[in-house]
């Protein structure tokens, strides 16, 4: 038989799986869109129409945490500092002066023990009163505990502070040795209530600032509300909202489209137009040369690098004239910056001559130089690397450009430095948030500094002297350090002091300053008339 009649008669009714599939697909799509995106606010109750009393900020990345003792990390500090939490003493970014915040006065007879008088009438967001116990707890937690707070490594190193509560309004802090800039160091500590855990870091901060933490929709946004019990002036906006987009052109688009009021980390290439506001951001770009291999064993070659780079042209053509040619690692406004120190002039002939002299003396000037640059560290960094490579090649050097991502770049940036085939020349971007050259010089110029390729005993002595000086002496001593570096040590070829750019919608008033990238003080933002 050709057919098996039993099979035909008993065959189950034909189903229509394809149609069923199509219906399932469409139905589930509609169902999924109907629901809001997982974890987001309801579409209806979302903050799309959040009203003009919410200040909307868009950042470059989601803060990994809002733990106040990590607030020297830019992505944490930009939300916390002076907005949710406050320090005892605060540095004015424009004048460089230290101003009272939660401490009203401070002084010391020997630069070692400091007595601080604390402000009264201050409460935390949880309603508790602020007094010296909280200040002591803050310092112990951030500096003396085993928490491993980032601010500890950045500001205090391995050293502990001795803290004593004299009375509820008076605190005594003793440094392990004379430290004229201890108040400046204290300005990095954001004050938290004494009940805050000393064994675990917290994700959601309680502070004394003008805004209190309200909600964190992980992955999406952070919401703050103005704190009614704030001791100072009430901020202009009742609510604040932070979102984040890693793509700078999208941040710029949000400003243009009116979806955000302030956007950080922009550049003119993002199409921000006149809604972009440039500001000097404390960052300086420089090349760090290692002298353990040829050709940088010879100081003349390092000098040649300085002469060979046309910094004026770079600043004008790559950065629209916004940046400023640099002669040292810290910009104006930082204690120790020398106004009289001139940048190395662009002199390609002199560069060639110096290279020839070194070669004649036996230095292998054709040895490979590995220029290590971090991808996407700042706008147009790859072009900058290429320009420098070209200019150094014209001076007679052999430069290989290597673009690396952050984690790999870091292995060349801090001790112990990773090995390179050729001589290492690292492009580094350094921001001196603190406003005092000690924070730069100790790291970058001491013989055993964490980011220092090499130093000399003479420079070390000058630095130690500067670290211990105060007032005008301090300024002069650090100026001497920078001048000495440029004349006798030449570890660096400085390129430029950079500018940052924020996007600012027409509906807000805000003047960015050098600290804007590290602490965006929402209380300084007001609605435009």
């Amino acid at each position: 038989m050709m057919f098996d009649e039993r099979k035909i008669l008993l065959a189950p009714a034909r189903r229509r799986p394809l149609a069923a599939l199509a219906v399932l697909a469409v139905g589930s799509s509609l169902a999924m869109t109907g629901c809001a995106v997982a974890n987001s606010d309801d579409a209806a109750g979302g903050t799309a129409g959040s009203g003009s009393d919410t200040l909307r900020v868009v950042l470059q990345q989601e803060p990994p945490t809002l733990e106040p003792c990590e607030s020297n990390l830019t992505s944490t500090g930009v939300v916390d500092r002076s907005t949710i939490t406050e320090p005892l003493i605060e540095r004015n970014p424009t004048s460089g002066e230290l101003e009272p915040k939660l401490a009203t006065t401070w002084d010391s007879k020997d630069d070692t023990t400091w007595t601080l008088k604390l402000r009264t009438g201050v409460t935390f967001h949880d309603g508790s009163t602020f007094d010296a116990t909280d200040a002591k707890a803050t310092i112990d937690r951030a500096v003396n505990s085993k928490l491993g707070c980032n601010v500890e490594g950045y500001v205090f190193g391995d050293e502990d502070l001795k803290v004593k509560v004299v009375d509820p309004e008076t605190l005594q802090v003793t440094a392990p040795h004379a430290d004229p800039i201890l108040p400046l160091r204290l300005s990095f500590l954001e004050v938290v209530p004494s009940e805050t855990s000393t064994t675990k870091k917290v994700r959601e901060p309680i502070g004394t600032g003008p805004y209190q933490f309200e909600k964190w929709d992980a992955g999406q946004k952070i919401t703050l509300a103005a704190y009614d019990g704030y001791w100072g002036d009430k901020p202009a906006y009742a609510k604040a909202q932070y979102e984040w987009r890693s793509e700078s052109s999208v941040r710029a688009a949000m400003i243009t489209a009116g979806e955000a009021d302030i956007a950080t980390g922009l550049s003119p290439e993002d199409n921000i137009g006149d809604l972009g506001v440039p500001y000097p951001n404390n960052e300086t770009v420089a090349l760090r040369m290692h002298n353990n291999k040829a050709p940088f064993t010879d100081i003349r070659v390092r000098e040649a690098v300085n002469y060979a780079i046309d910094k004026e042209s770079i600043v004008k053509n790559l950065y629209g004239g916004r940046d400023k040619v640099a002669a040292q690692l810290v910009p104006e406004g930082v204690v120790g910056h020398s106004d009289s120190l001139k940048p190395w002039p662009y002199d390609p002939e002199k560069a060639k001559q110096l290279v020839a002299e070194a070669k004649a003396d036996g230095t292998d000037t054709s040895a490979e130089i590995d220029m290590i640059v971090r991808s996407a560290q700042f706008p147009k960094i790859e072009e900058l690397g290429q320009v420098i490579q070209e200019q150094l090649t014209q001076a007679g050097l052999n430069v290989k450009l290597k673009m690396l991502e952050t984690s790999q770049h870091l292995t060349y940036q801090v001790r112990p430095f990773a090995k390179t085939e050729g001589d290492l020349m690292l492009m580094t971007q350094h921001g001196n948030q603190a406003g005092d050259a000690a924070f730069t010089v100790d790291q970058y110029m001491l013989s055993n500094g964490a980011q220092s390729a090499f130093g000399t005993p003479e420079l070390d002595a000058l630095i130690k002297k500067a670290d211990a000086s105060t007032g005008d002496d301090r300024q002069a001593a650090f100026e001497k350090v920078f001048a000495y570096q440029n004349e006798k040590v030449v570890q660096f070829a400085h390129i430029a002091h950079q500018t940052g750019m924020i996007g600012k919608s027409k509906s807000v008033n805000y003047e960015p300053n050098s600290s804007t990238g590290d602490e965006l003080r929402l209380a300084e933002v007001t609605p435009a008339k």
Binding site: V37, G153, Q220, A253, T406, S407
Partner: protein
Amino acid sequence: MLTYLRKRIISSALPLVVVVVGVFALARMTGNPAALYLPLSATPEMRAEFITRNGLDQPLLVQMGNYFGGVLHLDFGTSLRTGEAAGAMALRAFPATLQLAGVTMALAILLAVVVGSWAALKPNGIIDRIASFFSMAAASIPDFWLAIVGILVFAITLGWVPTSGVETSASWILPIATLLMRPFGALVQVVRGAMVSALSEPYIRLARSKGSGQRRVITHHALRNAAAPALTVAGDLTVGLVNGAVVVETIFGWPGIGKLMIDSILQRDFAVLQACVLLTAIAIFTLNIVIDLLYALLDPRVRPAAAGRRRARRTETPPATTPPADAPTALAGAARP
């Protein structure tokens, strides 16, 4: 069916373990992440303390043992970056990507079936040529560029949709439209090709001669047979979407697992990376099982029960009713007078 499912689940478990072990070992070979988490001025003692605190100084096998021990208690470790539980972070981010990938694929498949079938009706006709052109373009356009241009045109210039984010239902439009292009483009080509083959089969002519309308011919006969290759490609594309929505997630600020994975790679956040990879791998293995089940649904020849019956028939002695091969057939017999 259940036996089949059980077997597939068990056979997926081994590759899963291999994937996780592989990522575990490879991630740690990238070196010490301390430099990413500590300030640049941290002393060597602080770096050593960081390594010890996070158990990174132990031998690799010990670390792996600890990790899998934790996994058995559903503890996937802690994020170096945020201090939160890595498993919770991955689980929180995953649904957003699933929603995005799910809706995108459903729409892509639907549109591709419609356009591909339409194009296949008259091969090399005008519709076919237009569809080919657009589907090739769609499959080739880089999603990054499309996303940015989409924002520029539809969000900024026209103001029809938001630029990014997940606030409103309208926020879905640009991300899905961007993500849709490549799968749609690839699928149209596959569906069109499979439909052209299916439509040239003899059973189509038979169906038409029996009086079936065009619609029934397409949906009931041709599409059912063209579905298999389309399903294979669709399955591959969905897997690619779950992993590769990272560009769209990054640009539009979509809180999905793709972006979480990239960030954890760049930040050497081992626990989160492992949790993300584990979750994504489970999803992909599940997806493959689902695709196999769909095959069985669509094509009875592929069903495991059918395969069993075929095997059984081959091993039995032939039943007496089956005529010997050289016996005349009924037709042949009827032909003889």
